[in-house]
């Protein structure tokens, strides 16, 4: 009877050890996966920011939007009439322009805010495409100069990029 009890106690101990070990393993897995998810979310946010910055640099450096070689005296100068014409080409999707630029800009919105004077800001949407369910990222701002070649006036402007990837 005594031995039987001792044996039962020993079996109970082993089972307890196994259960505790299982609990520890499960806790370890949960902790590891949680920290991995948190890391991935952080990476995802960082990637969104990098993507936004990349798009901003690419958009600001587009040869087809740059000021005339004779008039450009400043870095990152975009031509007001080119911006407006590009926006129209995109809106009307002429020559499948949207599909063409999708490979570069993916799901994002690119707009230029031109500070015409203290009270008026002209907004030109260059590209806006989102075929995902994702919310937009925080905007990335990129300063540049927009030049009106007719009146020969330069405006301080902000390129704003939001990504949906």
């Amino acid at each position: 009877m005594n031995l039987k009890k001792k044996g039962q106690i020993q079996s109970g101990e082993t089972v307890t050890v196994v259960i505790i070990l299982m609990i520890l393993i499960v806790l370890g897995i949960v902790y590891a996966s949680n920290s991995k998810i948190a890391g991935l979310q952080k990476d995802n946010e960082k990637q969104k920011e990098i993507d936004g910055m990349k798009i901003a640099v690419l958009a600001a450096g587009m040869d087809e939007l740059k000021c005339s070689i004779y008039s450009a005296k400043v870095n990152t100068c975009l031509d007001l009439y080119r911006l407006s014409a590009f926006s129209e080409t995109m809106n009307q999707n002429l020559y499948s322009a949207k599909e063409y630029y999708f490979d570069t800009f993916r799901n994002s919105k690119i707009e230029v805010n031109i500070l015409v004077n203290e009270t008026y800001v002209e907004n030109i949407v260059l590209y806006d495409f989102n075929n995902s369910e994702n919310k937009s990222s925080s905007p990335i701002f990129f300063p540049l100069t927009v030049s009106d070649p007719v009146s020969k006036t330069n405006y301080f402007s902000i390129l704003e990029v939001r990504t949906y990837n």
Partner: protein, 348 residues
């Protein structure tokens, strides 16, 4: 009886411990085996991603430095460039991961890597700026110019020194110096081209310029690849496309890049057409009619001619859309010069 029962219980407990140890051991072993195999699988992908990231970084740096030639450290891998029905892409040698060059205008030979990379950028204009073209090669691809013809001599002089380039007077002077590939640029197909350079490692490009005074006008690049005696002809217009065809050293890769450049040209031409219309409207309202006349020339035909000819660049000899493309470019260039003299807003 009691000791027997006791033995049985003890045996049961010992076996339970062993079973537990076995199961736990197996689980741990399985975990490590799975991790290692996953690690092995991902290492190849990681290398491909690394190569892609590095090339992306090269592209980004280059795009910020237009019209520059740069030498980059030798990567410890080789990249193969392809142009197939699937599209234009590159991949690590012996890797199945494909990195598509969807609208990057890159002209490179079939293989680069395990040698210092050489990059060169130029802005392709038609005549308004269209895109930054990237020429990518390495020290193992040699460009041999047979400079018996003055036009080829001009090409040799204008081709950056940082590329592995060489000039020879006669085709017989071409010797195998251990390069991966020899891209031979010549004015007419040489009668004798035996030498040391094996047929499979060479590509002959006959530059057939159709503008007498200027090799950079327009014409055809005749590719004789892999020892073939029949050529594959591809058109070129301007210096940027001519060098694109030379750096690629491969008709398919050149054609792939050319299609993308022309696709973008059509979009940019459209944007410039709309811009000119806006300028015309503005000048019609507020300024003298002289400027409007220039803009009218552009909106009523010049840009459309350019767009149409860019749409079907590679056609039969009788159509010669590349010639029409060149002529439209020249028309636009002339109008822009007149606009400059008349103090109106420039087209580009």
């Amino acid at each position: 009886m009691r000791p027997k029962k006791y033995d049985a219980k003890g045996q049961l407990q010992i076996s339970f411990n062993w079973i537990f140890v076995l199961i736990a051991g197996a689980v741990i072993l399985l975990f490590f085996v799975t991790s290692i195999s996953k690690e092995k699988d991902s290492s190849q992908t990681q290398l491909a991603q690394k190569a892609s990231a590095r090339l992306d970084a090269v592209f980004a740096v280059i795009q910020q430095n237009p019209n520059s030639v740069q030498i980059h450290d030798a990567p410890n891998y080789e990249l193969d460039f392809y142009c197939t029905e699937e599209g234009h892409y590159y991949s690590l040698k012996d890797s199945s991961t494909k990195n598509y060059l969807e609208n990057e205008h890159i002209f490179a030979p079939e293989t680069v890597g395990k040698a210092k990379l050489i990059s060169w950028t130029k802005t392709f204009s038609a005549p308004f700026p269209v895109s930054s073209i990237l020429y990518l090669s390495d020290e193992k691809n040699q460009y041999v110019f047979i400079t018996a013809d003055s036009k080829i001599e001009k090409l040799y002089e204008d081709f950056p020194d940082k590329f592995s380039k060489r000039n020879v007077s006669l085709s017989q002077d071409i010797t195998d110096e251990g390069f991966r590939k020899y891209i031979i640029i010549v004015a007419a197909l040489p009668a004798i081209l035996d030498g040391d350079v094996k047929k499979k490692t060479r590509s002959i490009i006959v530059v057939s310029s159709e503008t007498t005074s200027d090799i950079y006008g327009y014409g055809k690049l005749k590719y004789y690849e892999g020892g073939s005696l029949t050529s594959i002809d591809k058109p070129y217009v301007g210096q940027e496309l001519l060098f694109a065809g030379i750096v690629s050293g491969n008709s398919k890769l050149y054609a792939c890049g050319l299609d993308k450049v022309l696709e973008k040209t059509r979009i940019v031409a459209q944007t410039n057409l709309l811009r000119t219309q806006k300028l015309k409207n503005e000048y019609d309202l507020t300024y003298t009619g002289r400027c409007s006349t220039f803009y009218g020339l552009v909106t009523q035909g010049y840009v459309q001619n350019l767009t149409v000819s860019a749409g079907s660049f590679e056609t039969t000899d009788s159509t010669k859309n590349y010639k029409k493309f060149y002529e439209s470019m020249m028309d636009l260039q002339r109008v822009n010069e007149n606009i400059l003299r008349s103090d109106c807003t420039l087209l580009y």
